[in-house]
């Protein structure tokens, strides 16, 4: 097929296959989707690894992310510069971590990073408040939100520093059987 020969070399495709949970066809399909976002920016030929980054404002227009309340955080977490400008590597990385066959540990790590809004590697009360507001789109009153945050941190915080460290978060997630099936984006 003409596409396969000009988009990636065989070695590149093998590297992608080894490092992500995608097969060759899916990677090519992903490249098509990536290119759709910014056709004038993204070249068809990736054999010499061009350093192109698509800005976050274009990435969140994807139908898979458009209605997701955490889309900005997801894009920021997986982008290398932390601002949301995603190269193709970051793009593939994002969908690979969120795919069906991705293991629980990996998803937990990235979920923690996504919910950690201020990036201090702790989920503090403010992070949780922002999460809740995004989840309920302002349906809960501020008092209810504060109450939920307090109770949630009290429940999950094991070492009693009133924030959730990664260990607390992981422990809580391991008790939630629905996490794996919910934290999954189909591409």
């Amino acid at each position: 097929m003409g596409n396969k020969q000009t988009t990636f070399t065989k070695e590149q495709l093998e590297a992608y296959q080894d490092c992500t949970y995608f097969t060759r066809k899916e990677i090519l399909r992903l490249h098509g989707r990536y290119r759709e976002l910014a056709p004038h920016l993204v070249p068809l030929d990736y054999t010499n690894n061009p350093d192109i980054r698509v800005p976050p404002s274009l990435i969140v227009t994807m139908p898979e992310l458009k209605e997701n309340p955490f889309r900005d955080r997801i894009v920021e977490t997986f982008s290398e510069d932390g601002q949301g400008n995603m190269s193709f590597n970051d793009f593939v990385d994002m969908f690979s971590a969120l795919c069906e066959t991705s293991p629980r540990e990996l998803k937990t790590i990235y979920a923690f990073k996504i919910y950690d809004f201020n990036r201090d590697s702790f989920i503090c009360k403010e992070d949780l408040q922002k999460t809740l507001n995004k989840l309920t789109k302002g349906e809960l009153t501020p008092e209810e939100v504060a109450l939920v945050c307090d109770k949630a941190i009290e429940e999950a915080d094991l070492d009693a520093d009133s924030k959730l460290s990664f260990a607390d978060f992981e422990n809580m997630i391991s008790k939630a059987p629905d996490f794996l099936s919910n934290f999954h984006i189909r591409i």
Partner: protein
């Protein structure tokens, strides 16, 4: 690690540099090294320090002051009261005051706050993981791979030395380890690393480069051949994976469904796909070993072969009754090229010499017996494996207390991508959070005695209605099936043949009708009962439905396996009445009819229940809400259909093909109907728990029941005397025994096998011992689970205590700073205390 901690207080307060945390590539895995680093380099975690600095500036805010955790209360118990109180008061007081920046600096660089964040920490973490994996796989590094050092025995032999290497050498050691791992392990490690894809690719290329340099230097020709074979296998495996992925059935459709309805409704369709693969497997097995050989050597046809009328598609009788579809068609002798010379009526009689010719022979009865046995055995293994995997994912040893936190973090379904369902989902989550909050905050108000009695009465009434309805239907089915069976055996010539065959459809229609109407009744009753918790309501409705289906299937099995064979022992009759001659074919036809009618009724239910109801509610009632998709009811219906298919494989080897067609059509019809007519379920649906329940139901009542029936048929029921592969034997199982005897006669060396067969398989004692061993193993495993639960509580307590220790140390640290810096301030704080 006997380094002294350097609390150097003479360092001036450092400017807060706005560094991005992603730039840190310092490896943090030892506390002492950290402290030294801190005092040497003054590298800060900028953002955290900024936050804490803000806290310092604002009055009365301290992130560590919230000592309301349960651990705090636990700390109170079991220690000296007076001294404890004093310490606590001091801790409190100190923490109320603002922490100095030196303390903050040390806090922010503690290992727990950096591991998992910086790249170097991830690399060292994965280096440790690969070491563990290597130790497990027993592939220790060869000494010659290491650089020369004075003590080669210690290096890399499982001793976790706290090295002071830089990040680069840690990376190199990781690459070394990766290279030594097997290809599968390496890929799994690489994929699971939470690093950037570009870094992963770099690691991979370094690893491969090393592999290449190693391999080119020391490969003998055998190893090179092995290397090439492995490469070729990898290529073929990748291409197979790509092929399978391109075959991914229905990807776009499933994505659309999950985008609009979420994981709950999706699980129904995934379950359907799962059942489809079972049937494909069954079809392949029976097709390859039974249908194909028999198709190549068709037996002599009966004199009267009926012509094809359209009714056969529904009843399965008539034209189809003498075809490959049913048991009766299969011959009971050994199929050979020269068939005319080799027709034996009895297997146990000595074979005529012409049968032992060089042509390949195919012992049909044995093949039939073993094929069905193997198919069931492999299905059992696959089912148990997927059940245990699903169980492992959804069962949690610990009772979950963290309901609110779980709801906040795990309830958003990332698959839903359409605007309206997203809005619906956030409303749902909001409602659930409010309910949980109400539950957590206020005590559940106790019902008065009158209310309790009232509730009890309502529940009792509901159950009575359900059980009465079920029993009534069962009794009806019992007598009706008896009546219909009598009617057929009467050979009433006055009725036309066509009408007689159509009357065969009466029983399936009745049963399907009951299966359709009664669950609706159960749902109404459950609505009337007004349960508090939606999950209990789901479970109750599920159990009632299950009770109905299990009892219906039980009655039918009794009818087919006890009544029909017993009453089929009639003297040789002239006309080709299927009941009299071949009860197995009759039962096969019955099952075919049941499947087809069941499918038709499902179509009708979809039409009326979903399409017409939606039109009705839109146009007449003018409600915005569309009907919901009842996942549990539909999945249970699928399980029921699959049980019928499993029951029927013995009697109708081509039944899996019918089931496959049925499932395919059902998929397309249901997806279209759901997309057009339904909306996402309003009640929360726990996907993984319900999926586990459904797979368990598929395994236990459904498959186990089917295999028990099939085993009973093979063991105890006398096969009909004039048709099928087992005619003339006392039971189907005897075919295997006869073959054993024949084998022993021909080959005296195999007498051991035959004797083993006699003593082991036929002796019930063996089964008892086997069952006993199973029970003992299960008991041990449950004890292990109990022990693990206890350990989990112990560890949790330990973590809480560690948290307390940490707080204590920090407060002591702070007190030292305070003493050194502002003696005056300390005096005032002591005064006010």
């Amino acid at each position: 690690m006997a380094r002294s901690v350097n609390f150097d207080l003479s360092q001036p307060d450092v400017e807060i540099g706005l560094e991005s945390p992603a730039d840190e590539d310092v490896v943090h895995d030892s506390f002492s090294r950290l402290i030294e680093e801190q005092s040497e380099n003054n590298r800060l975690s900028a953002i955290e320090l900024q936050d804490l600095q803000q806290d310092l500036d604002e009055e009365g805010r301290d992130s560590l002051a919230g000592l309301s955790g349960p651990a705090y209360r636990g700390w109170r118990l079991g220690s000296d009261e007076t001294e404890e109180d004093d310490n606590e008061r001091q801790t409190d007081r100190l923490l109320q005051d603002k922490l100095s920046s030196a303390t903050l600096r040390i806090l922010s660089s503690m290992p727990s706050r950096t591991i998992g964040r910086s790249r170097g920490a991830i690399i060292s973490q994965y280096y440790n993981k690969t070491m563990q994996l290597r130790r497990r796989r027993q592939s220790r590094p060869a000494i010659k791979d290491f650089s020369r050092s004075a003590r080669p025995s210690i290096r890399g032999y499982g001793v976790e030395v706290d090295t002071t290497d830089s990040a680069e050498s840690k990376k190199e050691r990781l690459v070394n380890n990766l290279q030594i791992l097997s290809v599968g392990d390496r890929e799994r490690m690489l994929r699971a690393m939470p690093l950037n894809l570009s870094e992963k690719k770099e690691l991979r290329s370094l690893t491969l480069k090393k592999t290449k340099t190693h391999s080119s230097s020391k490969l003998t020709c055998c190893s090179r051949l092995k290397f090439y074979i492995i490469i070729a296998l990898r290529h073929s495996w990748y291409s197979l994976l790509s092929f399978l992925h391109s075959l991914q059935l229905w990807q776009t459709r499933l994505k659309k469904i999950s985008g609009r309805f979420g994981s709950g409704v999706l699980s129904y369709f995934l379950f359907l796909k799962y059942l489809l693969f079972f049937n494909v497997f069954l079809l392949l097995v029976t097709g390859a070993f039974l249908v194909l050989p028999q198709a190549l050597y068709p037996p002599k046809l009966h004199a009267m072969r009926r012509s094809f009328t359209g009714l056969e598609l529904l009843t399965g009788a008539g034209y189809f009754s003498d075809t490959l579809m049913y048991y009766g068609y299969y011959s009971n002798d050994t199929l050979q090229r020269n068939r005319e010379n080799c027709i034996e009526g009895n297997i146990s009689s000595s074979a005529s010499p012409q049968c032992d010719s060089n042509y390949p022979s195919y012992n049909m009865p044995l093949a039939y017996f073993f094929t069905i046995g193997m198919a069931f055995f492999i299905t059992c293994i696959i089912l148990v494996y997927s059940m245990s995997k699903s169980f492992g994912q959804s069962f949690r040893i610990d009772k979950s207390h963290a309901m609110l936190a779980m709801k906040a973090f795990c309830s958003w379904d990332f698959k839903v991508i359409k605007k309206n369902p997203v809005k619906l989902m956030s409303e749902n989550i909001c409602t659930q959070l409010k309910e949980l909050l109400a539950e957590v905050n206020h005590r559940k108000f106790k019902n008065t005695l009158k209310q309790k009695l009232h509730k009890l009465l309502v529940h009792g009434l509901a159950w009575t209605i359900c059980i009465a309805a079920t029993t009534g239907c069962l009794v009806g089915i019992y007598y009706f099936s008896d009546y219909m069976h009598e009617q057929e055996r009467l050979h009433d010539v006055s009725k036309g043949r066509l009408l007689k065959e159509a009357s065969l459809l009466a029983l399936p229609v009745l049963v399907s009708f009951i299966n359709l109407v009664l669950p609706g009744l159960f749902n109404l009753v459950a609505d009337m009962e007004n349960y508090n918790s939606p999950s209990i309501r789901t479970y109750v409705a599920l159990s009632r439905n299950l009770m109905l289906k299990v009892s219906v299937l039980g009655i039918l099995c009794y009818h087919w396996l006890s009544r029909v064979p017993a009453e089929s022992d009639c003297p040789s009759s002239k006309d080709q009445d299927p009941t009299c001659e071949c009860w197995e074919s009759f039962v096969g036809q019955e099952l075919y009819r049941f499947l087809i009618i069941d499918f038709i009724f499902t179509l009708l239910d979809t039409l009326f229940g979903e399409l017409l109801w939606r039109l009705f509610s839109d146009k007449v009632l003018r409600r915005k809400r569309r009907p919901g998709f009842d996942i549990a009811k539909n999945v249970l219906h699928l399980i029921y259909g699959q049980t019928l298919a499993w029951l029927g494989v013995l009697f109708t080897p081509l039944l899996p093909a019918v089931q496959i067609l049925k499932l395919l059509l059902l998929f397309y019809i249901k997806t279209s109907s759901v997309m057009m007519n339904c909306q996402a379920p309003r009640r929360p649906y726990r996907v993984s728990q319900m999926t586990t329940i459904f797979i368990t139901l598929l395994c236990f009542p459904s498959f186990l029941g089917a295999s028990v029936c099939v085993t009973y048929t093979m063991w105890s029921i006398k096969p009909s005397g004039s048709c099928g592969p087992f005619r003339g034997n006392e039971s189907m199982f005897k075919a295997g025994k006869n073959w054993m005897d024949k084998l022993e006669k021909e080959n005296p060396h195999l007498s051991l096998l035959a004797r083993a067969h006699t003593y082991l398989v036929e002796n019930p004692f063996f089964l008892f011992v086997g069952a006993g061993i199973f029970l003992i193993v299960i008991y041990f495993q449950s004890q292990v689970v109990d022990g693990q639960r206890k350990i989990i509580t112990l560890l949790q307590e330990q973590i809480e205590n560690e948290g307390e220790d940490k707080k204590f140390l920090i407060s002591k640290l702070q007190s030292i700073h305070e003493k050194k810096r502002t003696p005056a301030r300390r005096l005032t704080s002591q005064d006010s205390g």
